[in-house]
């Protein structure tokens, strides 16, 4: 068997553990951890691992404490958490829309977050708090619009994707318009934010994503089984006792929350939500939405991309440029191999 059954003798509690997916998750965790360690120890001021650990337990010298706790740790953690949030949200959207393109960056949610953030940047100037709030509001409003416009006797995948692409296109033009009305400095700040970046991220960027992950991921995992049944069609799911509309609305709400808060922290980083679930699924070879592997894959993708951008290319290169380029290649490959689940 490819799964392991864990049961209490009385059968009161029984869990089903897919072996391969568990191994993949463990592997992704290890690699992500390694990437984080490299991110903390290397850079313009290389620090041995011992010094990094010393600062983490409060025994480092002031210089390395500043480098680790103020510069590197928040950046690494923002990358890991934002990537995980995008990965889980992407897996949910792809499952609900039964389409590998049904990801928040394609169907307009991240574009909506960008619109919200742009309005704040251009109206109030760039500051972490309000920009994040603007991004969350923009994301939620655009998600609501896409949901309401695509709902007709329940949500259908193809319609959700098409409506989302339409909304995204409209919001893109709104964003472009906003930038043309801005001052030079604001426009520069806005353009930079729009690429998605982990540059200069502090703890104020870490906590919101960490909080939403802690709340949303357990709920999403609890809804993973009804989510898997929904992929078989609404009739089949309902016949098995799934409360279709309620379950779907709940997972979409969680995915929107994850996307909006993650976007607020790092900007609309391209393609992580799109690629992470598909890559994870190819590794696990599982037919379930695989929220946990997708989240871990997202964390690894974003953390590793940021590290590569910083260390191999240019210290100031926004990570969104790299993930965008990688994602383009990935998308081409996806279309070329034609493994569309639509």
């Amino acid at each position: 068997m490819t799964t392991l059954a864990l049961r209490t003798p009385s059968d009161r509690i029984s869990l089903r553990v897919p072996r391969r997916a568990t191994a993949v998750c463990a592997g992704l965790l290890v690699v992500t951890f390694a990437v984080a360690v490299v991110g903390l120890t290397t850079g313009d001021y290389p620090l041995p691992l011992g010094d990094v650990l010393a600062t983490l337990v409060g025994r480092g010298d002031p210089a390395s404490t500043f480098i680790v706790e103020t510069l590197r740790a928040p950046r690494v953690l923002t990358g890991v958490f934002v990537g995980a949030a995008f990965g889980v949200a992407g897996a949910i959207f792809q499952s609900v829309s039964r389409n590998p393109l049904g990801s928040p960056d394609i169907v307009g949610f991240t574009t909506g977050s960008a619109t919200g953030a742009l309005i704040v940047i251009l109206a109030l100037g760039e500051a972490a708090g309000p920009v994040g709030l603007g991004a969350v509001c923009g994301g939620v409003v655009s998600a609501l619009a896409v949901y309401l416009l695509s709902v007709r006797n329940g949500v259908q995948g193809a319609r959700l994707v098409l409506v989302g692409i339409g909304i995204a296109a409209m919001l893109e033009s709104v964003n472009a318009y906003l930038i043309t009305r801005a001052t030079r400095e604001d426009a520069f700040a806005a353009a930079h934010w729009l690429v998605g970046s982990l540059n200069g991220r502090g703890w104020e960027h870490v906590w919101p994503v960490a909080a939403v992950l802690v709340l949303a991921v357990p709920l999403a995992l609890a809804l993973a089984r009804p989510l898997a049944l929904l992929e078989m069609g609404d009739d089949a799911a309902r016949a098995l006792g799934v409360r279709v509309e309620r379950s779907r609305a709940a997972v979409i709400f969680l995915a929107v929350a994850l996307t909006a808060v993650a976007t607020a922290s790092a900007g609309p980083v391209a393609f992580v939500a799109l690629a992470a679930p598909q890559l994870a699924r190819r590794l696990t070879r599982s037919a379930t939405p695989g929220l946990l592997p997708a989240g871990l894959m997202g964390a690894l993708l974003l953390a590793a991309s940021d590290l590569a951008a910083q260390r191999l290319l240019d210290a100031d290169l926004p990570v969104g440029v790299l993930t965008g380029a990688l994602g383009g290649i990935y998308l081409g490959w996806l279309l070329f191999t034609g493994r569309s689940r639509a």
């Binding site: 009739d235 309902r238 016949a239 098995l240």
Partner: protein, 257 residues
């Protein structure tokens, strides 16, 4: 005593009313087959019985209580459905798909009990797909795939099973195979309700036949008692002769030329 009853049903999609004032009681332990011309509302009626479609007025009752007012999972332990078309998730194996039929018996911390394992094994064996357990569903033939979906519905272990055109897209040998399997399930004590297209197959397998036209039930009862030239003419508008099926002794409809 009938467990599944629809009374005063008005069934509609958006603005199109399919049926009005429809009453139907499914006899317990029967193999009820609903027949009728295309668009007569038979699938709509089945969907209402399976609580997939909420009647605009009237109600479907299971054991005397309104089916839509009961917890969905609880109903799913009593009443199963094989929909006309379901989507097999990409890359899913037969065993995993059939295991999904256990959902109404599972909880967050009771995901795979010994009962679940036993029910899945029995369902795989009853539909003769146990050999295919590790195969990918997409790679199976149409006949095998339909048996797998039936196995999923069986794993649900419901006393009542509804089947929406279970033989569509199958060649005649596989149609008979699936219907024989249904007859076996009925003989084991289940109540079956199926929508079928083929009137002769319906006559052969049904213990209770429901003939519909334009959203209304024209006649119902044992096929041998109700199926005659006049009924077929009235329901399908087809001039025909009804003779005795030389194999089963049930009514056999032969169109006139």
């Amino acid at each position: 005593m009938t467990r599944l009853v629809g009374t005063g049903l008005e069934l509609a999609y958006d603005r199109r009313v399919v049926a009005e004032q429809l009453d139907l009681a499914i006899p317990d332990r029967s193999f009820t087959v609903i027949v009728g011309p295309n668009a007569c509302g038979k699938t709509t009626l089945l969907r209402a019985l399976a609580r997939l479609l909420k009647p605009r007025s009237g109600g479907v009752y299971l054991d005397g209580s309104l089916i839509t007012s009961r917890p969905s999972k609880e109903v799913a332990r009593e009443l199963g459905l094989l929909p006309q078309s379901s989507i097999a998730p990409d890359g899913i194996t037969v065993a995993d798909l059939v295991a999904r039929g256990r959902f109404p018996h599972q909880r967050l911390l009771r995901q795979w009990s010994r009962d679940d394992e036993r029910a899945v094994a029995e369902a795989l064996a009853a539909t003769r797909v146990a050999d295919l357990a590790d195969r990918i569903v997409d790679e199976l033939s149409g006949g095998q795939r339909q048996r797998v979906w039936l196995a999923m519905a069986l794993a649900q272990q419901t006393p009542i099973l509804l089947l929406d055109e279970p033989t569509t897209f199958l060649d005649i040998a596989h149609q008979v195979e699936v219907l024989d399997l249904c007859a076996q399930l009925h003989a084991d004590g289940r109540t079956l309700v199926a929508v079928l297209h083929d009137l002769n197959q319906a006559c052969r397998y049904a213990t209770h036949l429901v003939a519909m036209r334009d959203g209304a039930i024209v006649a119902q009862g044992p096929p041998a008692e109700i199926v005659g030239e006049e009924l077929v003419e009235r329901v399908f508008g087809l001039p025909c002769r009804v003779v005795e099926d030389p194999e089963a002794g049930t009514p056999l409809v032969v169109p006139r030329r």
